[in-house]
Amino acid sequence: MSSENIVKKLFTKSTDEWKELLINNAIYIVVAAIILFIVIREPSFVSVPVFRNILTQSSVRLILAYGVAGIIILQGTDLSLGRLVGFAAVVSGSLLQRPDYANRFFPDLQALPLFVPLLIAMVVTIVLSAINGWVVAQFKIHPFLATMGMMITAYGILSIYFASGAPGPQPIGGFDNRYTDFVIGTTLGIPNLVIYAALTSVVIWFLWNKTTFGKNMYAVGGNPEAAKVSGVNVMITTILVYILAGALYGIGGFLEAARIGSANNGTGFGYELDAIAACVVGGISFSGGIGKVSGAIIGVLMFTIISYGMTFMGLDMYYQYIIKGIIIVAAVSLDTKKYLKKS
């Protein structure tokens, strides 16, 4: 469509069409208004360092959001995300401390190649998440309950592991420089985290849109019965989606420990809510079968910009909670309105 046509279309809309357009994009308008407010109050918010920080902060969140997004597309949800991320963070951290650090988790451990702890962390989260998927598919348990069970169980196992280190239960720090550089360093001026998030986005886009696995995921999420009678293996598809989520949580946890600079059994607590909220705001619908990579990106960015901006303005944390909570509920109700144009 040429720009002329777009302009023409915009000016020939009836009031009802405008109303529709407003409702369909209301959440973006509200978020844009909040951002505008922040910018007016603090003009220095618009700057390269802030922009960079926002992208960096969004990176791990985005990787995690892709994981839970797949599960939401299956009409599910994942409460265990935060604890699994914490598990991956503690495992990665415990295996990648500086050789000369005083309080090492494994005092005699040799320096490992970076990919070894990453893989170990991913195996842990993949196994736990696959159990979620299997329980959901096999016993037809609502994912809310299945993953709630996993959230509690995983925290228990994680805490036992955390306490079993040589220094006892205390935060794991003093990471190997290779690890820290790999995560928080930059390449050609671009933060590495942003590069990892971008690479993950590309892979996820192909997986979701161009592979049989992805199409089956949307089909099972959109209408499990139809998928079943068409010969899609619903059980395998479900478990694969959880395995993918587990893999992403593993990567997320590995990155998160180095990003923060330390890890403990409380790391990742509550991350599931941020990830789910970002998905929902990005239009990944709880009714299942709908969701795009671009949606996850928009959702995560909007949330990060708002939290960062509110902190930038010096707004109290508690007020931030109130605003975030309202945005989530507003986003969901407006999303529902899009699909039910009845009342």
Binding site: K210, N216, A226, K341
Partner: protein, 507 residues
Amino acid sequence: MHEEYLLSIKDVCKSFSGVKVLKNVCLNIKAGTVHSLMGENGAGKSTLMKCLFGIYKQDSGEFFLDGEAFNFTDPKHALENGVSMVHQELNQVTKRTISDNIWLGRYPTKGPFVDEKKMYNDTMALFKRLNIHLDPRTRLDKLSVSQRQMVEIAKAVSYDAKVIVLDEPTSSLTAHEVEMLFDIMKVLKNEGVGIVYISHKMEEIFEVSDEVTVLRDGFYIGTEDIANLTMEKIVNMMVGRELEDRFPPKENVPGDVHMAVKNLSTRYAPEVHDVNFELKRGEILGVAGLVGAGRTEMVEALFGARTLKSGEIYIDGKKIDNSTPNKAIKNHFALLTEERRETGIYPVADITFNSTISNIKSYKNRLGYLVDKKMKDDTDEQIRAMRIKTPNRREKIRSLSGGNQQKVIIGRWLLTDPDILLLDEPTRGIDVGAKYEIYQLIINLAKRGKSIIVVSSEMPELLGITNRIMVMSNGRVSGIVNTDETTQTEIFNLSAKYLNNTREAEV
């Protein structure tokens, strides 16, 4: 030994917890023919099909395909062997595209990726063969029910089906769309496909069938060439008794104007534009039209279930406010919804709950808690008055047949003491015998002075029980005719009156 038949079902028996639902049922389908399978609801048609597709395991009996014995383990297994079924309730992923749905479960791949181009080309080739004009990249939720049905049939064909079972494919189609379906069936017939056609609509059976097999109460009654059959003969085979007429006599006498509707328009799509009509006391007014003509939307708008752009409703000359269903119920309106399973029944609740739920406030005593006895008495009264077939009122409604479920829901609305009943497809999916009882019920209500609007896609039904027929076309009223003076052709022409080019372009 069975080579003359493409598909042969021999002496199939099946029991559920000791109750025999199929007793030595046979069915023989020749290649290149349409074979209608008929019987009232509960006659065993769907159980037989479920045995064929391996959803149930038959107790005894055999299936032969091209003379070879087989037993499918699941619908997918049947599909791969060229036996497919188009279900009455479409089982599709509506948020995905046409081609995604057709090739679901067997996407062509190129390396690790799905081969979109091949999928598109294969779909186009398939559509060309069946003379379907749709873009494979369209999302299913952008299509009408009939178009979605075409997609489902195309999907069945795409498995190189030798046998296709069509389970009530026309229940939500309009006359024109039914013709399109029949054209596709002819193409398939010429290619040597055997079609099993399950339908309750007599007219269609005579139009498309080559042979008819009738089941009754799980018994195989017989197979006849269509040339040797008449409507009466089939009905006799199905119900085992004479049905004098398919419709009871219209004994209701319309009185003066009861309700007047002026300039009714809805705000959201699918829209209803500027509907004006009057409903007389004790009248049965039919509403005809194609799917998508806005008939359901019109009655929902009257009932306050849709947001209005404009419109006034007058009862006995007094303007009333029906902006929400609650207000409509207080104004003595009742709406029987089109999708009984989705918006009518509470499937896991019992008959008492289903009967009394819309009127639940009237069962409160002074302390505010519900009086069980009154609810039970009212329910028993409804079961008796409407002859609902059920062991007792504690039965879950989902275990009743479609006709009996419908009676419970009509009973539910009668308990709210309505003056105006809006009945949207009141006999959909209900067998011949039960339909007659529903018709009788409607006419009796009109005789008692209730004013009734009946939306229906079955022309004979509209002609059989209504006093006047309002025809809708593309969201507008295209005419109101006296039932005794009109013809099917006139109604059909009125239905197409406001079809414009945009609608055609979608098809």
